[in-house]
Symmetry: C2
């Protein structure tokens, strides 16, 4: 039976998952492929650390170059994480004509262009299903199923850590501090949770997805990114009041060319931020650490993919699917069968100032006549139209009064200016809180 | 540029969708494939009927054999529906070495075995994404993404017509008659809705899905099938009372080998029936004519695919994806790259009597002492354990009293016997209503 040799770089949680899936399903995989997938080498940092999965010591090496230099290895599986070292490995592998499977969204978001260029030049494949939303087959769907369709919007819950935290806050009414601490205790959040709670992880994933969905070429720093640390139990109470729930969304949306663009190149909005979404909506039903992506496309209309975004087995299963798919290409002699993202970007980024959204605005104002009128006038002066207002009794005499306004869709720049002007009103006692509203 | 010639048989709604998608995205498709997909011939019954899509008259023929006999046609796209004529076409095409795309679940459910055998013998491909759940990429996901995983359960809302009807009944409290009439008026239900409302359409789809998910070989008649015509507004009121909503589900579930099977071949349950599902669950959020399939697999855990199950564009888009995928195989010289369902079945069907489910039981009984005790005793005698009970005041003096019992999981045969015995109690005034409960 034909053998396809693979090398695995990085042997943490996901690496262990990959190895145990390959072992457990070896019979099935052989029957389906008519070939055997053989792990030839595993590169890891500390060969002495105890592991959940037993490995023959002879397979292990601390030199990743051993994978690249081994002519029996046709596929290099990069599970190291990080950008510098992993780029060195992946580019060396591609240059030698090895195919690559990677679960590394940071690498793709930062240096995807160079990687895809190398792969094209050597006619080898790069598969990366596990890089975004672990076990949710969103990469395959974007690369293959939708070849016949045109995507207009992509809205996702792509970070399990923050969704776990927001679900707990919504259901238990607690503040973010204790919930984050619990998430860390349960292993849903890292000791340093910054990348997740800042929205940075979601922004990296959005870059990878937007490239496939729209042919965009974005760096994470270009994505409008707001994290969840500023959210309070009060925001959740107000969300419920208006029939919403709060989620951290990654949104990319096609919005036509800029008015002054003679070439008529479509722009996309790209943003990651907490958002109010309607309580009955599908994404509102995505709880805990689960992930989901809603696509809106011309032929298909709305569709959604849902599943576990992280964990050894879901992510490992995505990596193994990629290995199998690549092996099929190798056996059929058809590498490059499914094209990589387009070399030249097909869309440009709409400036953040031009983003259009509905907003929830939470003012803290003096309890005196004329305050609402002044705020409403300022909003109207910028063309911002009010959809709903609620004013509460002050919690105690003399305390700031909460005044909540939900707007219709407005231009981000207009809204920012209006908020800044209202901030200068003598009756505004605290900074205004602003949360975007998505109808998904 | 290389051309791949296709022939389309059947030119109704979906055929029109396919043609307009191929035309509208011709540039994109060429750029992605490096080849041109050319429609060489369209076979249809009545060439004079007015159509939404313009076609050069020279392309049209009333002889489907023209597609098979044309050496320039490499892919035959079967959109005729029905079983006899479409089987004749598909088998003729495969025998001549043409690849086939079909949207015909009835054909696959009835004669899939023969079709796959022919395709294997000639080393050609059969693609059928559009046969189940239109634009939801469930076939591709089962064939490819999950090659590395083992599926334990598949639960779907796979019929848009019945989901439209049940959503309206749940939201408006109306009876099925007027809601069905409305669905017909709006084009969501056929003039003869039998195949949909009987669950027959869902059973056909379940056969196609279970073959890919479990390697099962089922005929629709073997699937335990109950339709929705017996559901009443009262069932929906009771569903809400217990925190459920009512959906028509297609369920296939792996349940281990039979106790007396020395070979230890796994069995699966296969059933289509209305079911109570928890109100907050993901499938409960699938409204109107939308479709969704939840998979539970070993590595991936729970995952869901959601989208439009029918309509010219969603279904057309699935057909075009298949055409593109097949064209990639043709260009790469890699037909048969993704294997067809296994030739020998890998599981057998668990007898319906052995199915295990929780049940909602609605008794109509005399308002007299001892009735509840007698029913509870009968259930207990068959090993059926009660999870919840509610008894209502009779609507008027002397009228039957509604007594509702929710059971824990029980064996279907035990339950049927208990119900039949309770039916013989003098205090039982009307036939007992029974609806299965799924926790999805």
């Amino acid at each position: 039976m034909r053998e396809v040799g693979i090398g695995i770089a990085g042997f943490g949680t996901v690496g262990g998952g990959v190895l145990s899936i390959l072992r457990r399903h070896a019979g099935d995989i052989e029957a389906r492929l008519g070939a055997r997938i053989v792990v030839k080498r595993i590169a890891l940092r500390d060969p002495l650390r105890a592991r959940a999965v037993d490995v023959a010591p002879g397979l292990l090496t601390t030199r990743v170059d051993d994978l690249v230099e081994d002519p029996a290895i046709e596929v290099v599986v990069e599970l190291m994480g990080g950008v510098e070292e992993s780029f060195r490995l992946v580019s060396a592998a591609l240059s030698r004509g090895q195919h690559v499977v990677t679960a590394n969204k940071a690498l793709l978001a930062a240096r995807g262009d160079e990687i895809f260029r190398l792969a094209r030049a050597r006619s080898v494949d790069v598969y990366y299903e596990a890089a975004v939303c672990g076990g949710v087959p969103i990469i395959r769907t974007l690369r293959e199923s939708l070849a016949s369709d045109r995507i207009n919007a992509l809205t996702g819950i792509v970070n399990g850590t923050t969704n776990f935290i927001l679900t707990a806050m919504a259901e238990r009414g607690e503040a973010i501090g204790p919930v984050l601490a619990e998430a860390q205790r349960l292993g849903y959040a890292e000791a340093d949770p910054t990348l997740d709670v800042s929205g940075g992880d979601a922004a990296q994933k959005l870059c990878v997805l937007a490239q496939l969905a729209f042919g965009a070429r974005l760096r994470p720093a270009e994505v409008l990114t707001e994290g969840i640390m500023g959210l309070s139990p009060e925001d959740f109470r107000w969300a419920r009041e208006f029939g919403y729930t709060l989620k951290l969304l990654a949104v990319a949306r096609r919005c036509g060319p800029a008015a002054d663009d003679p070439r008529g190149v479509d722009q996309i909005e790209a943003r990651v931020h907490p958002a109010f979404i309607p309580e009955g909506s599908l994404l509102a039903g995505v709880r805990g650490a689960m992930n989901a992506v809603v696509l809106r496309s011309e032929a298909l209309g709305a569709s959604m993919l849902y599943g576990q975004g992280a964990g050894a087995m879901p992510t490992g299963s995505a990596v193994v699917s990629d290995i199998i798919d690549l092996t099929r290409n190798i056996l059929a002699g058809s590498p490059g069968r499914v094209p990589l993202p387009p070399e030249e970007p097909l869309v440009s980024l709409r400036p953040h100032a031009e983003i259009r959204c509905a907003y929830y605005l939470h003012f803290s104002v003096k309890d005196e006549p004329g305050v609402l009128a002044r705020i409403a006038t300022t909003l109207a002066g910028r063309g911002i139209s009010v959809a709903a207002v609620q004013q509460r009794e002050p919690p105690e005499a003399g305390a700031p009064v909460p005044l909540v306004i939900v707007t219709h869709e407005a231009r981000e720049a207009d809204l920012v200016e209006a908020i800044s002007e209202i901030g200068r009103h003598a009756s505004t006692l605290r900074p205004t809180r602003l949360i975007r509203i998505e109808s998904v």
